[in-house]
């Protein structure tokens, strides 16, 4: 990190990808705790049949905010935290292609998240679930501001994601070090590239879905209103054309993480590298052709149903292939069971189970039974809370020494992992059972006659163990950041470029850009010495880095402000916000990132 400046102002104005990465992570962690509390409230309410801990309305707000927060404010930005910190280091770059835009992405995300959560202050938290089906969201059926907060908040977050995607694609394609051919890139960088392509293509579809909704709510249009000729199913199509690729936005970064971690701790190169890459790309493509498996119960007709059943089953193939590759990588390796590795193995086990329940309701007739029950809740928590989050935490334990120069505490780490593993399974496995018994999702309570009190109690107990694990994690992070054991440049003896520079890295990353000649440069003695000769030295003249800037935070604030003013319902209010945004953009355009201060 920069030795020059460490005050709070230097963080607010930073354009350094490493600091932005850290800010993304910390922010996502805070939202993780918030959404976790919401989950506990839900679980307390479901502790026993016909409980009255909270009202039906509060329950709706809780699961809506829990889901929306976990997906858009936790899983996505935590992955982006790693994109930021790790990708430029893995490809041998000094920063991303557009550093100021990168800062803008972060601040836009932060204000979007605050915007969404500020709805609680107005007692109008979104309450129509994270999929917000039309026409429940119409002004007629949702007259309050709840849905407005949701749709405006999400559109702010979408802007942030698209900017991030543009930035990372450009960075990865253009800023690789000499010799870093595409097929030499570490898997995490590869999956970042694929994810970024999905981000820039899927988010615009969500944007259109939200815009139609905004027209309905603000301008009295009727795109989703059947009584006026509109079509509520159109919302479902748009939402899921975005939504299914979105689940790959969530999982692919984690696949990337474990594809880097497993080889390191098995002391073997990734088994079948090209296959893992191609399978990732294939998932990215096929992910576009399966969306209607979320809509079997809308009555699409047998032909469409058959198509989406088949395509959904096909997409499980590349995923299965990857799982075999990871297992084959471990096979015969000298495995070190660090916490990071445990999380990888945990992911393999849990994600596979989630994939299997996915295949079950990929079959339309079975889905007619399982849809909108807790069985589906079990499925997607196995893939998201089990798969995605475990992968990200593997990344946390793995890269923490690079970020801070200190190890995460391994003893606490093991406790963290095992409480996570036990808590997770105890929470979500019983939901398969309660779901099959017919327990509906998004419903604040259930009847005693359903005979599902036991699985629900187990789930609630599990949730508290899970929450304990999260607390241990937060404590471990803080403790290790302050007093963890110091780590050298390459504490795990890993193979990729980010481990060739000091930990924590200097603000310019690479004193001199190294030349890469293989896929595992640091595992080949000669190449390693060549690279470290340039990456570990202290340069005589520090490389020129772009200046920090306060424009990103000002501009991002303007975006959130404008969106907020839309809710006043006065046509001139957002115009004020827009003028402010315009001024910011102008100042941004005239700012020279390389102007020498005082010269």
């Amino acid at each position: 990190m920069s030795a020059h400046n460490n005050g709070i102002w230097s963080w607010i104005t930073t354009v350094d990808h490493k600091r932005i990465g850290v800010m993304y992570f910390v922010t996502a962690l805070v939202f993780f705790v918030i959404a976790g509390v919401e989950a506990l409230v839900i679980r307390i309410q479901l502790w026993r049949p016909e409980n009255d801990f909270i009202s039906a309305e509060t329950y709706s707000q809780m699961f809506t905010m829990h889901g929306t927060t976990m997906i858009f404010l936790v899983a996505m930005p935590m992955a982006v935290a790693f994109f930021n910190f790790i990708v430029p280091l893995q490809i041998g770059a000094r920063d991303v292609a557009f550093p100021r835009l990168n800062a803008l992405s972060y601040w836009t995300f932060l204000f979007g998240g605050i915007f969404l959560n500020s709805s609680f202050l107005f007692g109008a938290a979104p309450n129509t679930s994270w999929v917000a089906y039309a026409n429940l969201t119409s002004s007629q059926f949702s007259p309050g501001h709840n849905v407005d907060f949701w749709l405006l908040g999400l559109s702010i977050l979408g802007i942030s994601s698209i900017m991030g995607g543009v930035n990372f694609i450009t960075t990865i394609i253009n800023l690789r070090a000499p010799g870093m051919k595409l097929m030499r890139m570490p898997l995490f960088t590869w999956m970042t590239l694929v994810t970024s392509f999905i981000l820039v293509t899927a988010l615009p579809v969500l944007a259109v879905a939200l815009i139609l909704l905004a027209f309905d709510r603000f301008f009295g249009a009727n795109f989703y209103q059947p009584m006026a000729g509109g079509d509520p199913i159109l919302w479902q199509h748009l939402f899921w054309i975005f939504g299914h690729p979105e689940v790959y936005i969530l999982i692919l970064p984690s696949f990337g993480v474990i594809s880097d971690v497993i080889p390191t701790f098995s002391r073997k190169p990734l088994f079948g590298y090209p296959i893992v890459v191609y399978a990732g790309i294939m998932i990215g493509f096929l992910g576009w052709g399966v969306w209607s498996h979320h809509m079997f119960t809308t009555g699409l007709g047998p032909i469409a149903d058959a198509f989406f059943v088949a395509s959904t089953m096909i997409i499980a193939i590349p995923t299965g292939v990857k799982i075999c590759n990871w297992i084959a990588t471990m096979w015969g390796g000298q495995i070190r069971f660090t916490t990071a590795m445990l999380y990888c193995i945990g992911l393999l086990a849990i994600f596979t189970l989630g994939g299997l329940s996915g295949i079950m309701h990929a079959s339309a007739p079975i889905d007619l039974q399982q849809h909108d029950t807790h069985f589906v809740v079990a499925h997607f928590h196995y893939v998201v809370a089990g798969g995605v989050m475990m992968g990200l935490f593997a990344g946390l334990y793995y890269w923490f020494p690079k970020v801070t120069g200190r190890f995460m505490d391994e003893r606490l780490g093991k406790i963290n992992f095992w409480t996570y593993f036990v808590g997770f399974n105890l929470t979500f496995f019983p939901m398969h059972i309660s779901g099959i018994y017919g327990m509906p999702r998004r419903t604040w309570t259930y009847a005693a006659e359903l005979n599902i009190a036991l699985p629900n109690m187990l789930s609630t107990i599990g949730a508290f163990i899970f929450a304990l694990s999260a607390l241990i994690l937060v404590y471990t992070i803080i403790k290790s950041a302050i007093s963890g054991e110091p780590a050298g440049p390459n504490p795990w003896n890993a193979a990729t470029l980010e481990w060739s520079i000091p930990s924590p890295p200097p603000h310019y990353n690479f004193a001199e850009i190294p030349t890469v000649r293989s896929r595992e440069p640091l595992w080949r003695e000669e190449e390693r010495r060549e690279i470290e000769a340039v990456t570990l030295k202290v340069p005589d003249v520090e490389p020129v880095m772009p200046n920090s800037s306060y424009m990103p935070i000002l501009l991002a604030f303007g975006v959130a402000l404008t969106w907020g003013l839309v809710m006043t319902g006065k046509w001139w209010a957002p115009v004020i916000g827009l003028s402010y945004v315009g001024v910011c953009i102008l100042m941004w355009a005239f700012e020279d990132p390389f102007a020498r201060k005082g010269a």
């Binding site: 292609a97 557009f98 698209i162 450009t170 800023l175 820039v200 615009p204 009295g220 009727n222 199509h237």
Partner: protein, 208 residues
């Protein structure tokens, strides 16, 4: 190829062998995202219209096709002037660059002006997006989709004009040379894209 990116970002050259500088690659990716945006709009339009053809009238009954045809022609001309501006700066012709940029801006602004006139006129006749207030011929989906699609396109043209003004301003200060013309090139890409989208929108919204 063009080297403007290296001038601006001296420490961040594209890797050897990469032909496309950062800003241009970024613009391409952004346009990819725009393609998805307009595709989704058009897709929604098709779904709504197929489900309720009775909401639409014969072409030309409500919308003024000749006027918009002229407008379309203007926008296509502005793509030509944009190409001219780019060709000039490739040759290092500063004066030509400024003139053609100015021409593009004027035509773009005229396009937006005519669209605004059209809106005022239509709203006056009761052709509004609002379901409850709709009184013109056809059904209210006709009005709502019309404003949705032409409105978002119009916003794109407006933003394009503003960016062009910025580029012209920089051109007046001599910021572009035959070696370094990234700004002109990427606004050109955007402009041609917006033009292309309009040709599609004009066809499906006005002519079909």
């Amino acid at each position: 190829m063009n080297q403007s990116a290296t001038a601006v970002m001296d420490h961040r050259h594209p890797m050897p062998g990469m032909q496309v500088y950062n800003l241009k690659l970024g613009m391409w990716i952004f346009l990819l995202s725009e393609v998805m945006f307009f595709t989704s709009l058009i897709g929604s339009y098709i779904i709504l219209r197929f489900a309720h053809p009775d909401h639409w009238t014969q072409p030309g009954v409500v919308l003024n096709v000749p006027l918009t045809a002229v407008n379309t022609f203007l926008l296509i001309c502005s793509s030509v002037t944009m190409v001219k501006a780019f060709a000039c700066i490739e040759q290092g012709d500063q004066k030509g660059l400024k003139l053609w940029l100015l021409g593009t801006i004027m035509i773009g602004a005229t396009f937006v002006g005519i669209q605004a006139y059209e809106y005022v006129h239509l709203i006056h006749e009761g052709f509004v997006p609002n379901f409850a207030a709709y009184t013109a011929e056809g059904g209210n989906l006709y009005g709502a989709t019309f404003y949705l699609m032409t409105g978002f396109h119009g916003a794109h043209v407006t933003i394009g004009v503003l960016c062009l003004i910025f580029v012209l301003f920089r051109a007046m200060k001599g910021a572009y040379t035959s070696e370094s013309y990234g700004g002109v090139e990427i606004i050109g890409l955007y402009w041609h894209f917006v033009d292309l989208v309009w040709i599609i929108l004009f066809t499906i919204v006005y002519l079909l």
